[in-house]
Amino acid sequence: MMASTYNAKDEDGHITVAGPGGGTLRSRKPENTAFKQQRLPAWQPILTAGTVLPAFFVIGLIFIPIGIGLYVTSNNIKEFEIDYTGVDMSSPCFNCSQNFSWNSTRPCTCSIPFYLDQPYESNVFMYYGLSNFYQNHRRYVKSRDDSQLNGDSEALTKPSKECEPYAFHDNKPIAPCGAIANSMFNDSLELFYNDPNGTKVQIHLMKTGIAWWTDKHVKFRNPGGNNPNLTVAFQGTTKPVNWRKPVYELDSDQENDGFINEDFIVWMRTAALPTFRKLYRIIQKKKDMVLTLPRGNYTLEVVYNYPVRSFEGRKRMILSTISWMGGKNPFLGIAYITVGSVCFFLGVVLLIIHHKYGNRNNSADISN
């Protein structure tokens, strides 16, 4: 012990003269721990043909079946699309599309016949599609007041600056404010089945259940809490400039009126890409074994309100069945199959390489 005390003392070079054993000074020797000496046990994978071979084969073997499955599923999805923009002279909606302004009071209607060549069995989703509509324009995206839409009474009367220039009209706050709400899609579409026996049967379209549950119940709320009288709740506000009727008259159903109108909510979820479709209605499968939409002739009746000529847009109606993977999209399946095959092929190449070069590594010679 004496000796070690000496050691600590004179090694440290301290000038303080003290008798042996008086006070101990800590050595500056670093701790010999795995962490400090950078000797933590480590897994050191080395990517060589030999080691990654199995991975490539496994990826190939897993991806190809998945891809096939996806492809088949996608192909089973039935989809029908009809463009009702009315750009062609021949189109029934040509007239409606020609003379149009946001403020026209007289609704223009047109009806488009179409033929479904295969029956739709399960629930059918009805979309409206717009193309060339840049709902993702930076300033457009920002032009909304989420607080107002969330039922905040303060924001109702004082819309956020983001809504400019659609925040006030005639010195009254606009509800809902902003460019998104102002440009809301307002065509109404109705679907009729032309029974072979000559009768025209209107198909029942569900207009609820098309928005996200969280949007409908959390994100969007009418002002005034549970006040059933929306007219009062929206007192002192004005409708968006392009709208024909105020927000509290969007639907007669209390649960689908005002800010929680599902068509409105769907519209407010701005599309990611300029060509988009938005869920419009759902045609529910009937209980028994009857087809939802049998094969045959149909008529689409459109109340043509929404102008698209200013951006050379197109309006479409889409009918689609849906699977667990959403809409019809063969790409994912193809992608999986391709990648799986590529991996498999690479695996084979690597196998060859491994046979050719694999043994060399053991007798590796480091040369510069």
Partner: protein, 1288 residues
Amino acid sequence: MMWRSPLARVRDALRGQKVREKDLRNLVSNLPYEGLDKWKQPNRYFPGNSIKTSKYTLLLFIPMNLFEQFHRLANLYFVGLAILNFVPVVNAFQPEVALIPICVILCLTAMKDAWEDFRRYQSDKRLNSMPCLIYSRKVKQFVERYWKDVRVGDFVKVVCNEIVPADLLLLHTSDPNGVCHIETANLDGETNLKQRRVVPGVCITDPEFEAESFNSIVVCEKPNINLNHFKCYVEKPDKDKVGAGIENLLLRGCTVRNTDHAVGFVVYAGHETKAMLNNNGPRYKRSKQERRLNIDVMFCVILLLTMCLVGALGHYLWLQTLPGLPPYLVPHSNGHLDSPSLSSFYMFFTMIILLQVLIPISLYVSIELVKIAQIFFITNDIDLYDEETDSQIQCRALNITEDLGQIEYIFTDKTGTLTENKMVFRRCSIMGTEYPHKENALQTQWSLDSDDVNRKDTMHHHGSRRKVPGTAHSDVAFSSPLETEVTPDKKLLQQISGAESTSVSRKIDAYLDFFLALAICNTVVVSMATAQRQRVSAEFSVDVDERWRWRRSKRAKMDGGFVLFKLPVYKSYLTRVAIINLSSCCNTGAQTCSLHVPRSSSEPAVTPDMVCYEAESPDEAALVYAAKAYGFILLGRTPDSVTVRLPSGEDLRFEVLDTLTFDSNRKRMSVLVRHPISKEYVLYTKGADYAIMELLDCVSLEKGNQKNIAADTQQHLDYYAKEGLRTLCIAKKVLSGREYESWSADRHRALAAIENREQLIMDTAVQIETNLTLLGATGIEDRLQENVPDTITALREAGIQVWVLTGDKPETAVNIGYACRLLEEEDLVINMSCKNKVRSCGMYSTLTCTSILDCTLEEVRRYVADPRNVDTTPDISLVIDGRTLAMTLSSDLQERFVELAKHCRSVLCCRVTPLQKSAVVKIIREKLKVMTLAVGDGANDVNMIQAADVGIGISGQEGMQAVMMSDFAISRFKHLKKLLLVHGHWCNSRLANMIIYFFYKNTANVNLLFWYQFFCGFTATAMIDYWLMIFFNLFFTSAPPIMFGILDKDISAEMLLGVPELYRTGQGSGEYRFSTFWVSMLDAFYQSLVCFFIPYLISIDFTGSDMDIFSFGTPVNTISLFTILLHLSIEIKAWTVVHWVIMLGSVALYFIVTLAYSAICVTCNAYWTLQSQMVDPMFYLVCIITTVVALLPRYTFHVLKNSIAPSPLEQARHLDRMDPITRDQWIKEWRSFRGGGQVKRSGLSVPPSPTLGTSVEAYPPSPTASEITGDEFTLNVISENYNRPVHT
């Protein structure tokens, strides 16, 4: 204080400026003006002695630091961006948030700067408040003041062992001869004492110094940087001028030694002192990678601008194609829309904000963090810890760790860096008989062994070491840590005592002669340590045993400079301790000695134990100590006598008739003495072996006996040389009275000559040094530090060129060169030296130098081009001396010199000055554009250390200057190996990989946003929530790369040390190259394309996508995260627990934060997006496929490269995975294989190296290959044994 008009002040200031700039300065004493106002002081224009090296002041810190920081381009960029955020037209998201990162960065940097500056401030303060003695007229004596109070014109008294506070013109010393000894170790690293003389007759000094009698004017030149020149004269009142030069000047920073006190007149103070002017202050070092990084940042800026330009143009075109006024174009609040060109102009800036992350703002902070951690690991490396001094490596520069991995040239000091700076007398040969001093060898051996034991068993070690050294003579097993302790050879001891007893008639036996020669033939100064010794025992005898004191003294020697530095601060207490340390030093053979404590009035009785030797070179001291060990004790030396005590106890006083000092032409020195008893004139000569052997008496050589002796001795000498010992031959000559008389007359004539004086003096020396009788030879060892040859070999295998720059003479340097395997036996050694002493023919000599350089270059080129040498690397070594170097470094010869140096495997520069050292480093660094590292231990290496890219200080024997100025301070040279090969490699590759990864990461991430612009009309929409975007870089993906930069370990330390060649991968641009940068950028582009377009293609249908912006952006962001992290996992070489935790933690953090954020923020765009995605199986399918596609190329590339053409690093990694024993085995085998391949056959004819035991001619072989001898130049290309040791 009298009021003075501002005008007068301005005028005064202007005049001051003029006075300071004038070539000559007139200085007068301050004393007559003492107590007057400042503006009446005659020397008021010259700066005071307080120094300030700190950059900032407390008040101005913030503005100055900000100003400093904005010199960094990156910071300016980020601030510019932050400001841009506040411009309304660019529609930034949240301008305030954008400020946070830049503020954090500025604050962190400012804090670091403040800390560094504070340290400088503290050190200034410490220096400024060191005490010193200034004469005061009021008190009529010297009063204690602080350094900062010293002004030009003051009289300052410096007592022994104190540091000189300013440049002083020496006026008085305690020495009756007016001599003052100083040690300039702090300035140039030379530890021997230098003499300074008093300027005579300027003021009354007898009996007491009277400062007030000084009434002359000191006229001196403007302050300059030259440490060895000073021009000045003192004009007395009677207009008599007394010249003064550097020999009268005490420089600031020197230490007064061996002189009780000295008084000087302050000529330069503070920043004007030569020491401060030589101290160029620390350079802000930017690592090479940082420079590289800045270029790449510039590329990123260009890329960013291009992308923004594309965005702006695209936006313009998009607006142009719109037929009408679509509802999604939002007008300004006043209801009108910008024109397409204006809005695309704005869009440019909006894009910059959107894509700003492309310039990695967090990179700079991350690099700082990584470097701090790297430094933590370096300092905590147990292998870089020195037990003996209890010192870790110190990292003083925080930002150049990675430069350690790219070193291509190492410039090293010799003494104290490669060697221990401790000379040991190892062997001698007398009259042809070899005395191997086995006991000495044993002792050294033992002490080495004991070091090993020490590590295992401290108790044992200390127990054995605590014996008293005084009784060591008979006790062979005892180890003395003091190198001066020579254990006499028993046989020799008997011989001497035999000679002693038989030579009753005092007919001096050759053995006695030999030792007398050792004791006399030198310039060693003897000083007494009596006084301190008494103090020592008084201080310690109570509780500290003898052994401990010896140990302590050894330590103290190492800390000597440091102790002194602190000395005045704790003066009262520490002085005594410091003296103890210093006095003990004397026994170690160091050149420091203290006589601080006033001597007792009566001359103390001289006892051998009390003498303490001071020698110009440690080997002289070693010889004197050797003589002492055999009882021939040098007791005193005055200019005309030498006193030696014989073993019999008798004191002999030899009259010294002349001393023929050493010069590099003769390579010997002689002392001519008159024997007190026989009254013979005896010349003792000591010198390099060949210098002496040539001069042996031919007549006596004819006699068989002498011839045999000469041959035997030569054989021993060769053997010594092979052992790496410094050899010296000792010879004598007895002159007759007549001979002496005639020679003496010549000598006097020569000394009196004015023209050609040096030549004449040398001629006289040569004239007398003939017909010598050989007495014997000695072998002295300047022990190399532990593992130096090993380290140097490893460094060279690592592709590093090692240069030795030393102040020593060429012979020593070459010797050490061989010893440390810097020069190999097969090497072609080119020796360039010019012996030009006359400055006037500089032009001529430059021309000669040019031709020699050309010649050599030609030779070297031919040698390299020689087909016989194709398969071997040319082993050409260059030895060049300082004077030649000075010429070759002149601007017109630089190129050729560099060209020559490039061909050389190693270069030894001898006799170089500190400034030349730095000039060499600078030239090589700049001309060859290589990474340089300088390592040294003394203050003379400071310049070099600062000039190099990486400066390393060795905290050894010579104070702390080198350490203070260095970037890294190590305690042993061998630590360099691990520092460079392991830590350098790691730091370099880690940081390089991290930087590249950072660029990749940011590009890959930002490009997603860029691709989206093609689908949103180039309106700078982000499909990711702004906060999540910030978090992405700040939290989700920041920790993994930092961890990668800190912890990734591509190859184990053992492998890196075992195969130094791996270091080469880091040299040049290493892993961070132009190509690597662009490859990873391209990869980033590819990956971002994949990450964007696969989700895009999946989301669009034939009928269009029903996804909203954030439902599209969230998967893309998630995929990007996975890709980025998995990309990193491909790059990570070793997965430790930390890796797993951080990687998985990052993913977890992403999901937790994003889920929480999108659940809590109801009014946010991203509300419930991720949740809704995560219940969709498609999300996972998309994530998997995209990540696989994105990473497949890189993964495959790595696999293919590793399989088909693995890099050395990859191969090493393979080996690394073997178990340690197999690996070590492999390394050993590989090394031996390589070593075998290393044997090179020189193209020039090389005589077979003589092996031990074969008889060799008595004369050294003359230079073979070529010899160009100009008037003043010699160039010898020697290709064989030039003191070539064999290493075992």
